[in-house]
Subunit: 201 residues, 2 copies
């Protein structure tokens, strides 16, 4: 059936967003209409305000600062020589929320399913290498942590990037593997339990 | 950790939408930032354009027409005396897409889990009664179809509304129950199979 343009356009745009299907997009559009003019205007403004968001020229995380660096990269208390490479901004947030890391990050973007990096991802890695060569003593980082998901794709990607970054860091590591806190041994899969045995201590 | 206001605000607003959790809301906000200024502006405009959407004064479906009626209610080829009551706009769309109905609709809104209608839902039902009394010959509709989901809540609601609307319609019906097309008898639940037997023909 023919729907009003405004509904159709928004549903189309929403359905292009990750993990929102055409059906949910349509439901959201109708829901928003039902919330009334004030709320619609508010959401439109919040979306538009995203244009104020800048990307850190060092780690590519978001910020709204006047210069080009995010809150983490501009913080003199953070060690610039220990770098965690993550795929997504939300991974960075999860790691920051542990309160246990005082180095900096590089957001590499999600690894394509092909296992090969996009051009802009290669540029981000190049950006990191240049930073290490120009800014760090001995032209080497203390440590680079590859915080990719513990999946076969993550493992494959980590092995490629390890090779590429070896000349630029004294140490390259990954996040520890083992039993998740609160988990039960009985229900742990073989891989996890194997890692837990290997990394016991 | 402290996130830029614009990200935080949008993620908060998105997470208030149905079926979007705080984690997905945050991912969506970052995704939008990554799509760049042009796309952000486009989505903001599409959301804002929803303000042009009006609600049909007869059936409460959406429209962008100059007067108060939607495309279905203004269409002289649609019988005004056969009325399908649906919960959601998306239910109406699904029914319209069958191309098998030539009457009109009433959108009643989702039935609250308590089984009791909200005040605005009671008003919509009242609106339908007034329409029938003023506009239809004999002050009765030919048929009212209660197109609620075939669930216990839907059944309960249908029985309440049937009582309420009985004086206003010659016939009150519900959508047929039985095996869904493409389904397998072996995997049909008892209720469905029972209905299929009862309604065989």
């Amino acid at each position: 059936m023919k729907l009003p343009e405004a509904i159709k356009n928004l549903a189309d745009e929403l359905s292009e967003l990750p993990s929102i299907g055409p059906r949910q997009a349509m439901r959201l559009a109708f829901y928003l209409v039902g919330r009334g003019e004030q709320n619609i205007r508010g959401l439109a403004k919040s979306v538009d305000d995203l244009r104020q968001i800048k990307t850190c020229e060092r780690c590519f995380f978001v910020h709204q600062n006047k210069d080009g660096l995010c809150d983490i990269c501009r913080n003199p208390a953070r060690k610039q020589s220990i770098i965690v490479i993550v795929e997504k901004e939300t991974d960075l947030i999860s790691l920051e929320n542990t309160g246990k890391f005082t180095g900096r990050y590089l957001i590499l973007g999600e690894i394509p399913k092909t296992g090969l990096m996009n051009d802009w991802q290669k540029l981000r890695l190049q950006n990191l290498k240049s930073f290490i060569e120009k800014e760090l003593p001995g032209k080497k980082a203390e440590e680079i942590v590859l915080a990719f998901n513990p999946t076969s794709l993550g493992d494959f990607h980590a092995s490629l990037i390890t090779k590429e970054l070896e000349p630029f860091s004294k140490k390259i590591s990954r996040l520890g593997r083992g039993l998740p806190t609160g988990g039960e041994i009985e229900f742990a899969d073989d891989e996890t339990l194997g890692s837990a045995l290997e990394k016991r201590g």
